[in-house]
Symmetry: C2
Subunit: 259 residues, 2 copies
């Protein structure tokens, strides 16, 4: 992106991808290299930060305060990169930046150029590791009811069932939200056979990654934790033994009538 | 990935991202550099190919034949990269590879290691350029009825409306499929106000990219072509004037009751 004026720096919102450097785009690397300040959840900032960066790590729940702080820094002339995990546009910091500008509408942010850089999301990393479970139409649903009511989440899971979508569940479970994943699976179970494939991907791309291929009848919520993404297939999703001997899960591009 | 044996090469399925090199991951660049053979739609192969590659370009509709050819090459000892645009797991070549292995189950492919590399999709590039329209739960639907019946697509669009999902439409329109986009928008219109934001992103990331922010009442299918991705907001999606003076569209992380 082009630099701002002397008075107004710029702000870029980037994503590290789901973990390793091999998924971090050249655009994001260039923005980080050009930045004076990095803002974000501490571990993300630590992952990409260099010696020349001022680092502004924070807790993972303070998105709006973090966004306002980043805008303040950019308005004071800094070149600011806000670091998300995964893709900043998918349950990342991009929406929080726009929320902050709309809520506060501070004149002091006027003129700050804002750029969002797309990145590889955990959805894609888990899908790639598993085979191609999202090879046809799909939904992405966060099961966190911190920012939206459970009734709306349940309505969306029901709609995903009605539409025979493959479904990726973000934020499936945490200590404070222990029952949501089980309930979501129960809602889906009314629309799927017990043999519908389920992919459980935890920390995919990291050293301690864990990938489990199972089905709806055998799946248990205690297979997931905060770093897990769960993908449930649609009615055509299948598991196969690949030529390399590994099991994979994929959703055909074709409707079964055409298969 | 690790190399195969002398007799059995390997096959990797990669994506170029939606266009420019700045979105091509280091993993994908490394796989392409290590490959002896590139297989895929001609323009994608041309985009990443080097002097040392044997290139096997093909028409964009021959996915299964292309997949079988790639597996044959790998089984004969080649290091084969199958090149998709965008993310290979999202309406890309990954599902076609698994379909080919399952349909044919040729013994001669036994032992070929297969690796899928995640990549930035057009969905994410368009969302980033527009603001953050996919900042909350969303669906991805291909409007191409080449491989699935229109009745199933219509059912999914209806479900996306019922679930109040933001929706990304892939393959929205072509000369052979002129009416599907208009009909999909009509189905959604029963569940949304006329002021629901619509993002029309064509060739985002390329030199001739075009981004239009409009709404359901003003949108017309002739704003889209084969290289377009259309994103329709949910009931909370809004357009705002950003601090840099540009209009953006985003979907808040919060439900309006909490906003």
């Amino acid at each position: 992106m082009s630099a701002g004026t002397a008075e107004t720096g710029w702000l870029a919102v980037v994503g590290t991808g789901p973990g390793p450097d091999r998924w971090l785009t050249p655009e994001t690397a260039a923005l980080v290299a050009a930045a004076t300040d990095l803002v974000g959840y501490g571990p993300y900032v630590a992952r990409v930060g260099g010696a020349h960066h001022r680092r502004h790590g924070s807790d993972n729940r303070e998105e709006l305060a973090r966004a306002a702080h980043a805008l303040d820094l950019a308005a004071s002339g800094a070149r600011v990169v806000v670091v998300s995990g995964g893709d900043p546009g998918i349950f990342g910091m991009a929406a929080a930046i726009w929320e902050a500008t709309e809520r506060a509408a501070h004149d002091r942010w006027h003129g700050v150029a804002i750029h969002i850089a797309p990145a590889v999301s955990a959805i894609q990393a888990v899908a790639a590791a598993a085979g191609a479970p999202l090879g046809n139409d799909f939904c992405v649903i966060s099961l966190s009811d911190n920012l939206k009511p459970w009734s709306l989440i349940a309505q969306r899971v029901e709609a995903a069932g009605l539409g025979d979508f493959a479904v990726a569940f973000y934020n499936p479970i945490s200590r404070a939200r222990p029952w949501q994943l089980g309930q979501a699976m129960q809602i889906l179970a009314a629309h799927r056979t017990p043999h519908t494939p389920v992919v459980v991907g935890t920390a995919i791309g990291r050293g301690d990654q864990q990938l489990t291929l199972t089905d709806m009848s055998a799946f248990s919520p205690d297979q997931a934790d905060m770093r897990t993404l769960v993908i449930v297939g649609n009615s055509t999703t299948r598991q196969l033994a690949a030529p390399d001997g590994r099991q994979r899960v994929y959703t055909p591009r074709c409707h079964p009538a055409d298969f």
